[in-house]
């Protein structure tokens, strides 16, 4: 579904990612792990059109999406939930979700999606009139993911969904991601929390110094000595 081929990208002409390649199959969860500053987030930003591609190519359903602006990717079925949530703080939860369906014009359809989100996350429904920046961290993360789902994406990209959350909430978030995958959405997830992520993923890539250095099924990487040493604290 998504193919990243030898991509080089960075900020203001200074490359951060030198050579990254990965492949995502439809219906799977693919994890991208690696230490801080290894280039995971930059790679995701390049995929979603926020950073320029200096070399290489990105193919989505066989079509190049290198340099396509992020707002156009939404209509193509790609949705990203950025690190730090980036909710519209002064808007209500409900309005945040509605903004997630900005590319949809059919009001009935929007309402239908909203209801299905509420069914999935009753707590978000309870809070729908509340201003987004008054929610707790976990709730905000839920809303951020829910907003990402409102465009009914085929590919959902999650950047550090568990960052700064209490362990109990992390489990909740991961269960939610699993359910999203089960509903047929392809998921790319970037996480510091490597063990839980690898356990959940069908396939995973390890990034180091701006390059994808290792790949394999989640289970295989979990067993890999090198990975254990470097990222799993073993």
């Amino acid at each position: 579904m998504l193919k990243v081929e030898h991509v080089k990208t960075g900020y203001d002409g200074v490359p951060v990612v030198h050579n990254a390649s990965l492949q995502v199959e439809q219906g799977s969860i693919v994890a991208l792990v690696g230490s801080n500053g290894s280039g995971k987030t930059s790679l995701l930003r390049a995929v979603t059109g926020a950073l320029p591609i200096m070399r290489g190519d990105i193919l989505y359903k066989g079509q190049s999406i290198a340099g396509v602006k992020s707002f156009k990717l939404v209509e193509m079925g790609i949705s990203m939930v950025p690190e730090g949530r980036h909710l519209f703080g002064k808007m209500s939860v409900r309005d945040n979700l509605l903004m997630g369906a900005y590319s949809v014009r059919d009001k009935g359809e929007i309402e239908k999606r909203l209801q299905s989100i509420y069914k999935l996350l009753p707590r978000v429904e309870e809070r729908q009139r509340q201003q987004a920046d008054t929610l707790s961290g976990g709730e905000q993360q839920m809303v951020a993911i829910a907003r990402g789902l409102m465009s009914k994406p085929e590919l959902l990209i999650l950047d550090e969904p568990s960052l700064g959350l209490m362990p109990k909430l992390v489990t909740e978030i991961f269960e939610f991601i699993q359910r999203i995958k089960d509903s047929g959405v392809t998921v790319i997830i970037v996480e510091q929390n490597a063990v839980a992520t690898l356990e959940m993923s069908d396939y995973a890539y390890v990034m180091q110094n701006g390059e994808t250095v290792l790949e394999g099924t989640g289970q295989a990487l979990l067993a890999d000595e090198q990975v254990k040493k470097a990222y799993l604290g073993g």
């Binding site: 939404v74 909710l87 903004m99 907003r147 465009s151």
Partner: protein, 286 residues
Amino acid sequence: MSVFLQGLYEGIINGSILALIAMGIALVWGVMNILSFSQGEFLMLGMFVSYYANRLLGLDPIVAMPLSALVLFVLGIIIYKLIIARALRGPILSQRLITFALSMVLVYSAQLFFGAEYKTLSNPVKFSGTIDLGFLTIAKQKLVPFLLALIVAGLLFWFLRYTRMGKAIQATSMDRYAAGLVGINPDRAYTISFALASAVAGAAGCALTYYYYLYPNVGATFQLWGFIAVAMGGFGSITGAFLSGLLMGIADTLTGLYVNTAIKYIGVCVVFLVAVSFRPKGIFGK
């Protein structure tokens, strides 16, 4: 008593023009964090549209108003695409100062194309005359800026709160990056905001020609008071800008009437200082 009422009424009318300028500045600042130094010049261009519509076609400013708003809206789009959008990619200082440079270009261009002399509408204006209520003399033409300010404030409120584009603009102002991720074209939201602000100034310029003279530098003074209204209302707050504009008009006229005309602007500044010392971020600042 009737002098007081007249003064209060005229103060609101005079404040309406400031409110209109200020709402445009507040919109641009609120959405894209740019100080729109060229708002006064858009007002000036609106006045020239009104002037030429009157001189060449014999139109009343109120009839020329939609035309002027449209002309300035289109000009706003062109200026945004050609200049502002590019400056936004540059360092923060050039973002902040680009509209300043723009205002100078507009003033000098106006001088070149329209001449530097003072002008007033040359053909008779139909929507004029006074209504004498005994306790209040209402000049019909001066109702125009007030009604316009009310309508613009209402329309902006409605547009930003209840329309798809308006919500997209709000979302972009809160988080440009996230707006892109949900499928909003942030550049489009910026363009529309900038063009809307300039259209408001264009309409305000028409209303102003009913009683004010025009010349290429006319925007500067209104611009200055507009900025003060924005600071007093709370940067980015359109409601705040609207109310502060009116309040400043009232302070201006009543100080002139009851204290001394020579210090009427001190009266306005005192109101401003009192407002910001109690609420440093402005009356509606967050």
